[in-house]
C-alpha cells in the first residue's frame, strides 16, 4: 500500500479564495454561493485489482458490492418462498419437505428478506451509490470504514448461509426468533442454527453501524456548496432518516441477540421462564420472554420504516422526474419522512397485542399507530398530486412507481385494520397479517427497487435497460403479486392461520384449497419473472443502447457528473455548486423542461422558479 500513498491525493486541496474565483461571483451577486468550508477530501485511489474492485474504498463500487450481495441473498430468499408455496399449495408434492424444513424456510425467508435483502439493498446499495453523488461529495467521509462495513456485511451473510449446512440446519423459530422456543430442543435448528443466526445478526449490526455513520456524516457534514438540507433530493432524505432509525434501533436487536446467545450458551435465564418439559423442570427459570418481544419490536418496528422510508424517498424522485413535475409539497414530504421516523419509535408494541403484555398498552400503541398513518397518508396524497396534470411518461420506471402507490395504499389500509386492538385480535396470526406486511413492506418497496434499478442503471452501467423486457417484467410481477396477496386477505378472514405447515382436512379449509393452489402457481410465475430482470441486465451490459449523459433529463447532481458512469471522486476537477432544489421541472418560462441543480439564478431570470 505504501507505494500508492504519493498518488493518493488525486485532487489538490484548494483554498477558499480560489474556490470563490471559480464561481465568478462576489457577495451581493445573485449567483453568489458561500465558499467551501472544508478543503477537498483526501481520497485513496486503488491501483491493484484488490484495492480497486475487492477492498475498494470508492462508495460507488461498495454500493454495487452491497447490491450484488443483497440480490444474491434475495434470490436465496425467493427460492425459499417457492419451496414454502410448493408445500402450502400442493402438500406432500415435494417429498423432502418436512414440517421442520418448512419452519426453517419460513424463518430464513423472513430474516433474509427483511434484514439481509431489503435493508442492505436500500441503505448499503442505493445509499452508498447515491448519497455522495446526490449531495455533491467526492466520496463517503470515511471510505476505509465504508469498505469495512461491506466486508462485515459479507461475513454476516456468509455466517447466515453457513447455518444451512450445520447439523440441525438453520433456525426454524420464525423470523422473530421468539424465546423460549427459539433455543429449546424441539424447535428446528435450536442448536448451531440459532447461534449462527444470532452471530450473523450481531455482525450485521456492527457492519451496518460502520456504514450508517458514513451515510449520516456524509449527508450532514459533507454536502457541496449551496446544498442545504432542504435542497436535497427526497431519496437522500429517505435514506438519511432510515439510517438514523437504524442507528438507534439496531442496538435493541444487538442487545437481544447478545442476551439470547447467553441464554443459549451460558444457561442464563434472561428470556427463559420456568419450563416443564415432559414432566421435568428445565434448568431455566425466572426470565421474561416478553422482554425479548419488547426489545425485538423496539428494533422491529423502526426496521419496517428502515425499509419503507428509502422507498418513499426514491419513489418521490422517480415520480417527479418521469412526470416532469416538481414534487408536490416538498417540505411536507420531508417533514412527513422525519415525522414517520420519529414516531416509529413509539409504536412497537402494536406487534404484540396478543402477547400478554400489560393490557393498558393496547390503548397507547393503537393511538400512536393511527397517528403515524397521518404523515403516511400525506405522502400518498402528495405523490398523486405530483402526478396530477403532470407530463407523465408511461415508461417502465413510471409503471413501477404507479404500481408502488397502489400497492402501498392497499397494504397501508390493511395496516389500519391491524393497528386497532379489537380488529387485530381476531386477525392476528392469520394470512391477513401475511398479506398486509407483504403488500406494505415486501411488494411495495420491491416495486420501488425495480423502478430505481431501471432508473439508475443507465448511470451505473452507461446503458439503457430494454424497455420491452421491462414492461413484461412489470406486468407479470404486478398482476402476479396481486394474485398472490389479494386472496390471502380472504384466507385470513376465514381464519386460516399463518405459519402452519399443512392444513390437512380442516373443514373450513375446503374453500381455501383451490385458492392456495392458485396462490402458489402465481408465486412460481412471479418468482420466475424476476429472472427477466437479470437476463435484461446481462443482455444490456453487452448490447444495450448507450445511455449518454442524463438520459432522463433529471435535475439532481448524480446525472451531472463529468463522466458517465462517474469515476472515483465523482465530479472531476471541480465540485458542483448548487443553486436550487432538484425539482425544477417544466418551469414556466424556461427554455427546457428541466433545470439542473447547478443552474445559477442569472441564467433563468424570467422564469417562475421555486424559491428554495
Amino acid at each position: 500500500m505504501s507505494d500508492e500513498i504519493e498518488n493518493k491525493t488525486g485532487y489538490q486541496a484548494q483554498s477558499s479564495e480560489t474556490m470563490n474565483e471559480y464561481s465568478g461571483a462576489a457577495v451581493g451577486d445573485i449567483d453568489y454561493v458561500r465558499p467551501a468550508e472544508l478543503p477537498e477530501q483526501d481520497l485513496y485511489h486503488g491501483h491493484t485489482f484488490l484495492t480497486k474492485w475487492v477492498f475498494c474504498q470508492d462508495a460507488k463500487v461498495i454500493g454495487v458490492q452491497y447490491f450484488l450481495t443483497a440480490v444474491f441473498t434475495g434470490v436465496v430468499g425467493l427460492i425459499l418462498s417457492w419451496l414454502m408455496r410448493l408445500q402450502l399449495g400442493f402438500p406432500g408434492l415435494a417429498g423432502f419437505m418436512t414440517a421442520e424444513h418448512y419452519y426453517q424456510f419460513v424463518t430464513m425467508h423472513g430474516m433474509i428478506m427483511v434484514v439481509y435483502f431489503l435493508t442492505a439493498l436500500f441503505l448499503g446499495g442505493f445509499g452508498n451509490y447515491l448519497i455522495p453523488l446526490m449531495v455533491g461529495a467526492r466520496d463517503m467521509v470515511f471510505p476505509y470504514v465504508n469498505m469495512l462495513s461491506f466486508w462485515m456485511f459479507f461475513v454476516a451473510v456468509a455466517v447466515l448461509m453457513a447455518s444451512f449446512f450445520v447439523p440441525g440446519g438453520p433456525t426454524g423459530s420464525g423470523w422473530t426468533l421468539y424465546p423460549p422456543q427459539a433455543i429449546l430442543e424441539g424447535t428446528p435448528g435450536s442448536g448451531a442454527g440459532i447461534l449462527l443466526m444470532l452471530i450473523s445478526l450481531s455482525l450485521f449490526v456492527i457492519g451496518f453501524t460502520m456504514g450508517g455513520l458514513n451515510y449520516m456524516i456524509t449527508i450532514l457534514q459533507a454536502r457541496t456548496r449551496g446544498m442545504t438540507l432542504m435542497r436535497m433530493p427526497l431519496t437522500v432524505w429517505g435514506i438519511f432518516t432510515a439510517t438514523v432509525l437504524a442507528m438507534l434501533a439496531f442496538p435493541a436487536l444487538l442487545v437481544s441477540s447478545i442476551m439470547m446467545t447467553l441464554d443459549k450458551v451460558l444457561g442464563t435465564s434472561f428470556f427463559m421462564p420456568t419450563i416443564l418439559k415432559a414432566g421435568e423442570v428445565l434448568e431455566y427459570g425466572g426470565g421474561s420472554p416478553i422482554l425479548f418481544q419488547h426489545l425485538f419490536w423496539f428494533f422491529g418496528h423502526p426496521e419496517v420504516y428502515i425499509v419503507a422510508l428509502p422507498a418513499f424517498g426514491i419513489v418521490s424522485d422517480l415520480i417527479s422526474v418521469h412526470a416532469r413535475k416538481n414534487i408536490f409539497g416538498y417540505r411536507m414530504m420531508v417533514w412527513a419522512i422525519v415525522g414517520i421516523g420519529a414516531l416509529s419509535f413509539f409504536v412497537w408494541a402494536h406487534h404484540m397485542y396478543v402477547s400478554g403484555m400489560n393490557p393498558w398498552f393496547g390503548f397507547f400503541f393503537a393511538t400512536t399507530t393511527l397517528i403515524i398513518a397521518v404523515p403516511t397518508a400525506m405522502k400518498v396524497y402528495n405523490w398523486i398530486l405530483t402526478l396530477w396534470r403532470g407530463n407523465i411518461r408511461i415508461n417502465v420506471v413510471m409503471l413501477w412507481c404507479l404500481g408502488f402507490i397502489v400497492t402501498f395504499v392497499n397494504g397501508g389500509i390493511t395496516g389500519i385494520f391491524l393497528g386497532n386492538v379489537s380488529v387485530d385480535v381476531p386477525l392476528s396470526d392469520t394470512y391477513f397479517v401475511v398479506a398486509h406486511f407483504h403488500m406494505v413492506m415486501g411488494i411495495a418497496p420491491l416495486m420501488v427497487i425495480m423502478g430505481a434499478v431501471y432508473h439508475w442503471f443507465p448511470l451505473v452501467a452507461g446503458r439503457m435497460l430494454n424497455e420491452g423486457l421491462g414492461k413484461w417484467h412489470f406486468w407479470i410481477t404486478f398482476l402476479g403479486a396481486y394474485s398472490i396477496y389479494f386472496p390471502m386477505h380472504y384466507l385470513g378472514f376465514i381464519g386460516v392461520p399463518r405459519r402452519y405447515f399443512e392444513m390437512y382436512d380442516s373443514p373450513y379449509m375446503t374453500s381455501a384449497i383451490g385458492m392456495n393452489e392458485f396462490i402458489s402457481l402465481a408465486a412460481f410465475i412471479v418468482g420466475a419473472a424476476q429472472f427477466i430482470l437479470i437476463y435484461n441486465i446481462i443482455k444490456t451490459l453487452k448490447t444495450g443502447k448507450p445511455a449518454g449523459k442524463n438520459p432522463w433529463k433529471a435535475n439532481s447532481l448524480e446525472w451531472h457528473t463529468s463522466t458517465v458512469p462517474p469515476e472515483h471522486g465523482n465530479f472531476g476537477e471541480r465540485l458542483p455548486v448548487v443553486h436550487r432544489w432538484p425539482y425544477d421541472y417544466s418551469v414556466p418560462g424556461a427554455k427546457e423542461d428541466f433545470m439542473p441543480q447547478t443552474t445559477p439564478p442569472s441564467e433563468v431570470l424570467n422564469t417562475e422558479v421555486e424559491k428554495t
Binding site: I290, H294, F298, F345, M357, N358, W360, F361, F364
Partner: protein
C-alpha cells in the same frame, strides 16, 4: 452575539481551572452518592438521591469533559432528542415489569388460575 463569537475564537481550549473544578466536583458527587449507601437511606429518599447525583454527574461529564456545553445547539439537540425514545421505553417497561410481577404473583402464588 459577542459571546458566541468569543466562544468560536477560543476554539476548544479552555482554562485549566474549569477542568479541575469539574474534576473535583465529580469526586465530591461520587462521594455523596456513596454516602447514600453508607447511611443506608431507604425508599423514595434513596432513589431520588441516587438519581439526582447520577444525573448531575452525567450532566457535568457531558457538558464539560465532552465539551457539549461549548458545542452549538445543532449538535446538542441532535444528541439529546433521541433520548425521548429511551424515556418512553423506560416508562413503558416500568409498567410492564410491574404487570409481569402482578401476573406472576397472581397466577403462581395467589392461584388466580382456578
Amino acid at each position: 452575539m459577542d459571546e458566541t463569537k468569543k466562544k468560536e475564537e477560543q476554539g476548544s481550549t479552555h482554562k485549566i481551572g474549569i477542568y479541575l473544578w469539574i474534576w473535583g466536583l465529580l469526586f465530591v458527587l461520587s462521594f455523596f452518592s456513596y454516602l447514600v449507601d453508607w447511611y443506608q437511606f431507604q425508599g423514595l429518599l434513596r432513589w431520588s438521591l441516587i438519581l439526582f447525583f447520577m444525573f448531575l454527574k452525567a450532566g457535568l461529564i457531558m457538558a464539560f469533559f465532552m465539551h457539549l456545553f461549548w458545542e452549538r445547539y445543532a449538535l446538542v439537540n441532535v444528541l439529546l432528542w433521541p433520548m425521548t425514545a429511551i424515556v418512553c421505553f423506560v416508562v413503558l417497561m416500568v409498567a410492564e415489569g410491574k404487570y409481569t410481577l402482578f401476573t406472576r404473583l397472581f397466577y403462581f402464588f395467589v392461584g388466580g388460575g382456578q
